[in-house]
């Protein structure tokens, strides 16, 4: 299984599962981050410490700790 940390800038993916406590899960949900959702990686900060994701029509930033908790699968570009 891979998580967001393993993706690169510009990659698109789909959220498979979130391994977090109840509060964090609810928090992420209120930002539109929950299983089934597709996203795109817009940017990483230095050392991949933080990520900027596009989810739906909004941009959300996460820290490495949160990236590790989100299981994803990569969506390969259609050729």
């Amino acid at each position: 299984m891979i998580n967001i940390y393993h993706l690169n800038k510009g990659d698109r993916g789909q959220i498979v599962g979130i391994n977090a406590g109840k509060t964090l899960k609810a928090r992420m949900k209120s930002f539109g981050i929950y299983p089934g959702v597709e996203f795109e990686i817009k940017a990483f900060s230095l050392g991949k410490n933080n990520v900027e994701l596009q989810v739906g029509n909004s941009l959300v930033a996460l820290r490495k700790g949160e990236m590790d908790k989100i299981e994803v699968q990569r969506i390969e570009d259609e050729v």
Partner: protein
């Protein structure tokens, strides 16, 4: 005239503040929600309903932005508490048309409360630009409440919104509805049917009661518990919950209802909106490509910060001088009016100079907060945290801590206030605790005096730089230590929206800066006035008429002018030595003795608790030099003569770390949320200062003597 109280709720960055600022002829009130440092804005305006010819007095309370009512942040707690417990007539829910699905999640929660509601579908102009088409009529049908299309920038829908507020207010009931999945709807109707069969009277619709029962809402259980109906209701609820548990495979009702709302929001959004995707990048994406670029992002930010601080402290210094001149003149004229005696001294040296010191910071605060408000309203602030979070997180801080910390190099007062941008309690407290380590401008004269007294001119500058850097590093170290020892436990997660870049509105900027300035003057002003009177008293009392008389005679007999001033200075020094402040200094001498500090330096440090500017002038008085500043050569020579280098180093280290000043302490107390935090800060900084001074003194003693 009837009064309508409106709770304005919405997610962050949906343009709530801009929207209420767009309502013209409204009276604005700013303040805090009780007990917390969350800004509260209230507006008030009159509205005349042309149909019924009735006048209404509409109060709108702008609630803090909340992504949901989860109580995750202080803002969300305040909003939830208000929505659930305060007395108001209806909710206006502002939603961002460009982000419908996520916004409807909060709407669903608000609908569940069963309160009357109006929806302001805001930012319609932006949605149109992004080719997002929303059928607001259909949305209104789905939600059962009026949906008004609005836009703060072109003032669209403002009148319609006012009208809708009054219309909904006049209606006896709300038509709001939220459609759950079939499983839940079935259980709701079972409960509702039961209520109807029993003809159970109820203030809120039966559907809402049923939903609350299924959500295990404590209050509704408490209320129904004492009703005779309870005995029959109980088995019905139990059966319903069982059905739900089996269907969802979990007994976590919070999660079940979260998912229900999510599905509702998604469903509603898909039904009413059409998005034509464009291939080219949006403006936000284009700007982000530059501003949060891995390599250019940080340099661009540092440049912007440099500019802001130049403006704050260079431009701010101009009015500061005038304010200083004004208050000095005012003090002098007060002495002329009230005489040179006690009253004149109290008013001039105590009150006027104290208040003057507070107002002096106002230009700095205004400029800095204008800058910060610009960073926040344009959406850049979130990018700053994104860029710097990696570094600051290593010390247990947050990316946004950077701004208050750097501001601390200028002045701690605005720095403590700037910490408000940190929304998380732990992040904010930790930042507040270490701001003092960033040496503020008022400490500079002390450093200049001591470095120039002990070091050659070309080295002195480097020493000065070293002092500042050492302070900053100590601060980061202290953050790490506090994070491990005091603010333990798991890290607060970092999940943050990066809002779209927006042009700031002048009205909104003005509003932010105005409310900050007002609060600063109100709170800090009253406290500091009292404190400065106290310091004035401690350094002027008790009086020694005999001693004064003795010196007066000597001065009169003195032949030359130099002798006269020398005697005057001696008198001043003797008076200060015997004042309460001097007595405290002498009494606390044993505390400072291990650091190599004598009573004179102790008094200077204690006077420095009032303001760091006082340290140098106090030293001047104690060394019988009259009024001096850090450039005074005589004071430099006196210090060189009387203070050994290890003692001087110990003194500097102490100055670097201990409490900044009264003004800062007052602001700190307010921002941290209680006097107890000031006590903690005092103990923490003083003990750190003592220990490090002690170490510095001993090490310097070994190497330098």
């Amino acid at each position: 005239m009837q009064k309508i109280v409106v709770a304005l709720a919405g997610q962050p960055n949906v343009g709530k503040s801009s929207l209420i600022n767009a309502i013209s002829d409204a009276k604005l009130k700013v303040g805090n929600f009780s007990g917390v440092t969350v800004d509260k804005t209230e507006i008030e305006f009159k509205y005349c309903d042309e149909v019924s010819c009735q006048d209404y007095d509409i109060h709108i309370i702008d609630l803090p932005g909340a992504y949901s009512l989860n109580e995750y942040t202080i803002e969300e707690k305040v909003t939830k508490k208000f929505i659930e417990h305060e007395d108001y007539n209806l909710i206006v829910n502002v939603i961002d048309a460009t982000n419908l699905e996520r916004n409807l999640l909060l709407t669903a929660e608000l609908l569940e409360t069963g309160k009357k509601m109006v929806i302001a579908l805001n930012m319609m102009d932006e949605a149109e630009k992004e080719n997002i088409h929303i059928d607001s009529k259909q949305l209104s049908d789905i939600l059962g409440v009026p949906v008004i299309e609005t836009s703060a920038s072109d003032k669209r829908g403002i009148e319609a919104l006012k009208h809708a507020i009054v219309e909904v207010f006049q209606k006896p009931k709300t038509g709001s509805k939220i459609l759950y999945s079939d499983v839940i709807e079935e259980e709701i109707s079972t409960i509702v049917n039961f209520f109807q069969e029993k003809k159970f009277p109820c203030l809120i619709p039966h559907e809402k009661v049923a939903v609350k029962l299924l959500k295990e809402d404590k209050e509704i259980y408490k209320k129904l518990h004492d009703e005779p109906i309870w005995i029959e209701l109980l088995p019905i609820i139990r059966a319903s919950l069982q059905h739900i548990y089996i269907h969802y495979g979990t007994k976590d009702l919070d999660e079940i209802f979260e998912d229900e709302r999510l599905a509702f929001a998604r469903g509603a959004a898909r039904e009413v909106q059409q998005i034509e995707h464009k291939k080219e990048k949006t403006i936000t994406e284009k700007i982000d490509d530059i501003l949060i670029n891995k390599y250019f992002g940080i340099p661009i930010f540092l440049f912007l910060m440099w500019g802001l601080f130049q403006l704050t402290f260079e431009l701010g210094a101009i009015p500061m001088d005038y304010i200083d001149m004004f208050f000095t003149a005012l003090g002098d004229s007060a002495k002329n009016i009230f005489g040179q005696g006690e009253l004149g001294s109290l008013i001039s040296d105590g009150m006027i100079s104290g208040v003057g010191a507070v107002i002096m910071f106002l230009p700095n605060i205004l400029i800095l907060f204008l800058g910060i408000a610009l960073l926040e309203t344009t959406g850049y602030m979130s990018r700053v945290s994104f860029l710097l979070d990696g570094f600051f997180h290593k010390f247990g801080l947050h990316g946004k801590s950077f701004i208050p910390l750097v501001t601390g190099f200028g002045c701690s007062v605005p720095a403590y206030m700037a910490a408000r941008t940190l929304k998380n309690e732990k992040d904010r407290l930790l930042t507040l605790f270490i701001i003092g380590f960033m040496s503020c401008g008022a400490r500079l004269p002390i450093y200049v005096l001591f470095t120039s007294a002990f070091f050659a001119k070309d080295v002195a500058g480097n020493m000065l730089f070293l002092i500042y850097i050492a302070g900053a590093l100590l601060g980061l170290g202290a953050a790490k230590v506090l994070n491990i020892l005091v603010f333990k436990g798991e890290d607060e997660p970092f999940v943050m929206e990066m809002p779209k870049y927006r042009l700031p509105s002048f009205k909104l900027l003005w509003h932010t800066v105005y409310s900050q300035a007002k609060m600063y003057l109100q709170k800090a002003g009253t406290f500091i006035l009292a404190a400065s009177v106290l310091v004035w008293f401690a350094s002027n009392y008790p009086k020694y008429p005999q001693l004064q008389q003795e010196y007066q005679n000597k001065i009169e007999q003195a032949k030359t002018k130099t002798q006269k001033t020398e005697l005057e200075n001696q008198l001043e020094s003797k008076l200060l030595e015997n004042s309460y402040l001097g007595q405290i200094g002498k009494a606390t001498e044993p505390f400072f003795a291990p650091l190599g500090l004598d009573w004179k330096l102790s008094v200077a440090l204690e006077a420095g608790l009032a303001a760091k500017e006082v340290v140098v002038s106090t030293l001047g008085v104690l060394y019988s030099l009259g009024s001096v500043d850090e450039t005074s050569n005589t004071l430099k020579t006196q210090i060189q003569k009387n203070i050994p280098l290890p003692t001087a180093i110990s003194f500097i280290v102490f100055v670097m770390i201990y409490l900044p000043c009264f003004a800062a302490s007052a602001v700190f107390t307010r921002e941290a949320g209680g006097v107890k935090y000031l006590v903690y800060l005092f103990i923490f900084t003083t003990s750190t200062a003592w220990v490090l001074s002690f170490i510095a003194y001993k090490i310097a003693g070994v190497f330098l003597t």
